[in-house]
């Protein structure tokens, strides 16, 4: 039988029935979370506090020796389905081939220790739960040992564990045999975890545990959810942000065979049908007129002009030192540059979707979400129920990239509104057009730099004015993320640039315009623009000083800095300075984000007017390594995602409407454009950092710098356009 100390650990009835065979005689490890939650969003508190003493459940051992690990994080491709179980299994000394993974339900016990609420993002998953997972594994092991010692009437100290067995002298029992007895024991208050020198699984290249499900079409994504009586819905939304329906007539939509209902919700008009195709046809047939509102005047050229004008004056101060204006005034050599990057859609391959069933006892949600801790509160608020009455069945995410961690839970809230209005179970599905038009974009950014160079060619003053919308403004995270008018994510990677330490007079400031266009974190958040502009501008300074870009960075970065170490490794492995094929050139960049330091060297050419990136050498220092294969995959992944933005993607506005609609005009990287990526991991005992995002920031500047080396022309806007 399972133990259920806090009423939170019981798997749902459906899950229980599905796994009861392996659960019979199983063990649920309950342990106390011993660490205070560090909070990402609010250094000074804000999100709901984790209970001081909180039961926790991460491991189940079946009488058939199956080890089931409950994963508190969403698997969205980043590999936590494998890397976190590796950490538990390391301490548990179990047979890795018997490890199974299940997504944990939503509960505060599964809070992200960096956020204080349940959620996956900020490249935190592995480092925030590393100690917790080790403890869970070690506690389970200790209880199995204690059960064995009792059975054999031996001192627990004589017992050792090996590959799923407890052994003492001639005694040997499998974990499955001991699970039932172990489940009756009280979890130990304290356990000792292995010394890293004893690790056999952590650090070992380990293949993913979710491959079989994903190569057979069996993996369950939110969009695949099927429930009895479920209607599929699409929503007609105003094509201009902030607009509302002026009038609509559902008659022609309801005339489409298969359409069952049409209901109005705050975000638009939902068409519900027996299948997606009928719902989509119903939406096409819907007679609706919109009040576009103030957003109708939005246009990208006007916004860019406005941003340029704002950047002429300093904004809210994010970081300053020395008498910047005086040094600039007196400078012999002044260098100025303006960089711009566009709004970007996340465009995960799985379009947004959410399935909702409202019952008399609460609400059940099936979706791919990164933000259960926020979602359950939002849903409870809409329905007037308690957050505990909201049950979220997190599915595999067909990509997240930040889009599925929404402070407003937009796509979930909308589906709940529809289910409530229609009084029926519904699955709301976004089309790709809905996704590209529907917002929550990486903000558009403009950066204006002015720097002075001393006689030695090194910068003596540096100003960086950033203009762009705040992600935190208007969300529950504003209090924690906005300090003195500066959203810290707007200037991350700029205000804390490691170059500033070597520049006596510097200022980084921020303008935060407002618009109806909804913005959100997009893989690597602020670093997605700051790395591009800072690393491009440093290259400009190197060129002005007539110094090799690598040598220039060596002078600017502290000798023992992790950025420089990563850069040296990438440059050495690339063969920086060695002759390249005719028509090829190389550029480099290094950037810290999410606690990891990544450097990249990109080699490219221009063929038939197209930028062809042939090779990227990437070095990362992320501290201790759990799974090198995950890191390699995440570096390739972030480089591909970053190259999409560097070479292709942009969202622009005309008359308030988004001009792009699908992958033909919101272009992303394709296989024939993928460079050969070589990943090198710096041997490091530094603090563990993230790997999901840090590989992205350096690629755009590395490519832009290589392009400058090739053509002599500095492109300061993304996506890079040759003519």
């Amino acid at each position: 039988m399972t133990r259920d100390p806090g009423g939170l650990l019981q798997p749902s009835r459906r899950q229980f029935l599905a796994t009861s065979a392996s659960l019979a005689g199983g063990l649920v490890i309950a342990c106390f979370v011993p660490f205070g939650a560090r909070r990402l969003f609010a250094q000074e508190g804000a999100p709901p506090a984790a209970p001081a003493v909180d039961p926790n459940a991460f491991v189940r051992i079946g009488s058939d020796d199956t080890i089931t690990i409950l994963l508190k994080h969403a698997e969205m491709g980043q590999g936590v389905w494998t890397s976190l179980p590796m950490v538990v299994a390391e301490e548990l000394d179990c047979d890795w081939t018997r490890v199974r993974v299940e997504t944990a339900p939503n509960a505060q016990v599964y809070a992200n220790n960096a956020f204080g609420i349940q959620g996956t993002g900020g490249s935190t998953s592995t480092h925030e739960s590393f100690d917790q997972m080790r403890q869970a594994g070690a506690m389970a092991r200790a209880m199995l040992v204690e059960a064995a010692a009792k059975r054999w009437k031996v001192d627990a100290a004589t017992c050792r564990t090996e590959n799923g067995f407890v052994i003492s002298g001639a005694h040997k029992a499998s974990y499955g045999e001991l699970a039932d007895a172990a489940a009756r024991l009280k979890p130990p208050q304290k356990v000792v975890v292995k010394d890293p020198s004893k690790w056999t699984l952590i650090g070992k290249p380990t293949r993913r545990l979710d491959s079989l499900a994903k190569v057979t079409g069996k993996a369950g994504f939110g969009i695949d959810v099927q429930r009895p009586g479920l209607l599929v819905g699409v929503i007609a939304r105003c094509p201009v942000f902030g607009g509302t329906p002026k009038r609509f007539d559902a008659t022609s939509a309801k005339a489409i065979p298969g359409v069952v209902d049409v209901v109005q919700v705050p975000s638009g008009i939902a068409i519900l049908a027996n299948h997606f195709w009928a719902a989509k046809k119903g939406r096409e047939a819907l007679d609706v007129e919109w009040n576009a509102g103030a957003g109708a005047s939005l246009s990208t050229p006007a916004m860019r002009a406005d941003y340029r004008k704002r950047a002429d004056k300093p904004g809210a101060i994010a970081k300053q030192a020395g008498s910047v204006d005086a040094v600039l005034e007196a400078a012999g050599t002044r260098i100025e540059a303006v960089y711009e990057v566009p709004f970007l859609a996340h465009a995960p391959m799985e379009p947004l979707n959410c399935t909702v069933e409202i019952g008399k006892d609460g609400c059940e949600i099936w979706t791919g979400t990164q933000f259960q801790g926020v979602d359950q509160g939002v849903v409870a608020g809409i329905l007037g129920i308690k957050p505990e009455q909201v049950k979220i069945h997190t599915q595999f995410l067909g990509g997240g990239f930040g889009r599925r961690a929404n402070p407003q839970s937009d796509f979930i809230a909308e589906a709940v509104h529809v289910a409530k209005a229609a009084n029926k179970p519904v699955k709301i599905v976004w089309t790709r057009e809905d996704d590209i038009h529907g917002g929550y974009y990486r903000p558009m950014w403009l950066s204006r730099f002015v720097a002075a160079l001393g006689a030695d060619g090194m910068p003596s003053a540096w100003t960086h004015t950033v203009v762009g919308q705040s992600i935190a403004a208007g969300t529950p995270f504003a209090a924690g993320m906005i300090k003195d008018g500066v959203d810290v994510t707007s200037v991350e990677g700029a205000a804390d640039s490691p170059y500033l330490a070597a520049i006596a007079a510097h200022r980084v400031d921020l303008h935060t315009p407002e618009s109806p266009i909804p913005v959100l974190w997009w893989r690597s958040v602020g670093h997605s623009h700051t790395a591009f502009v800072v690393e491009s501008f440093v290259d400009e300074l190197a060129h002005a000083a007539k110094v090799d870009p690598l040598a220039y960075r060596r002078k600017l970065l502290p000798a023992d800095s992790r950025n420089l170490r990563a850069l040296e490794l990438a440059a050495r492995e690339f063969g920086w300075g060695k002759p390249l094929a005719k028509g090829h050139a190389a550029g480099l960049a290094a950037h810290e984000s999410f606690g990891s330091h990544v450097a990249q060297v990109a080699e490219l050419s221009v063929e038939d007017g197209r930028i062809r990136v042939h090779r990227v050498v990437c070095a990362i220092d992320c501290g201790p390594v759990v799974n090198p294969m995950t890191i390699e995959a995440q570096m390739q992944s972030a480089i591909a995602f970053g190259l999409s933005a560097a070479l292709h993607s942009e969202v622009t506005f005309k008359d308030g409407k988004v001009e792009q609609s699908n992958f033909h005009d919101y272009r992303v990287l394709r296989l024939d454009e993928m460079p050969k990526v070589e990943v090198h991991i710096v041997k490091s005992t530094e603090k563990m950092g993230g790997v999901g995002e840090p590989g992205l920031p350096p690629i755009a500047p590395a490519v832009a710098n290589a392009l400058f080396a090739l053509t002599g022309k500095r492109l300061r806007n993304l996506p890079l356009k040759l003519a």
């Binding site: 980043q78 079989l212 079409g217 391959m349 591909a640």
Partner: protein, 156 residues
């Protein structure tokens, strides 16, 4: 209308213009084939019709009378098909959403080119988008699948 899907006959009552993708997913209940764009831009919905790859999101089911439709489910659930084996061996997948389509494109490629070059792979797989950027491992896994396919032929 009657459809032959993975060797089984299905009788479905759907509008003539309904794309095969939605018949598979919402009517027949085969959800391994994915919706990504709805306009043949991303390849997530790739299935085979009489052995050739097609984008099911723009293929009306009514055009498929008398033809054989095969989906990712036809490759089996134990991962033993050479392309699936290669995918697992090379740790290709990430989020996994596009991989049914990637695999169906790769299977089709290997049918016509049992030993494809990098250029062949670029040409055949360029229509399948992966936002996770698994492209490098897809390339190597297609080569590996070609080797495994050859071993299979020798064994047979």
């Amino acid at each position: 209308m009657k459809l032959d899907i993975n060797g089984r006959e299905h009788v479905v009552d759907v509008p003539d213009d309904m794309p095969l993708l939605w018949v598979l997913r919402d009517v027949v209940g085969l959800t391994g084939t994915k919706f990504g764009c709805g306009m043949a831009q991303c390849g997530a919905c790739t299935v085979h019709v009489d052995g050739a790859p097609v984008r099911s999101c723009v293929t009306p089911a009514s055009a498929l009378a008398g033809k054989k439709v095969t989906t990712i489910e036809s490759l089996g659930s134990d991962g033993s098909h050479p392309v699936q084996r290669a995918w697992i061996e090379h740790d290709v997948v990430q989020c996994g959403y596009c991989q049914s389509g990637q695999i169906m494109s790769a299977v089709a490629l290997l049918k016509v080119k049992p030993k494809p070059s990098d250029a062949d792979i670029d040409a055949a797989m360029g229509g399948n988008i992966c936002r996770c950027g698994t492209y490098q491992r897809i390339r190597s896994a297609v080569h590996r699948a070609a080797e495994l396919g050859e071993e299979n032929r020798h064994d047979a």
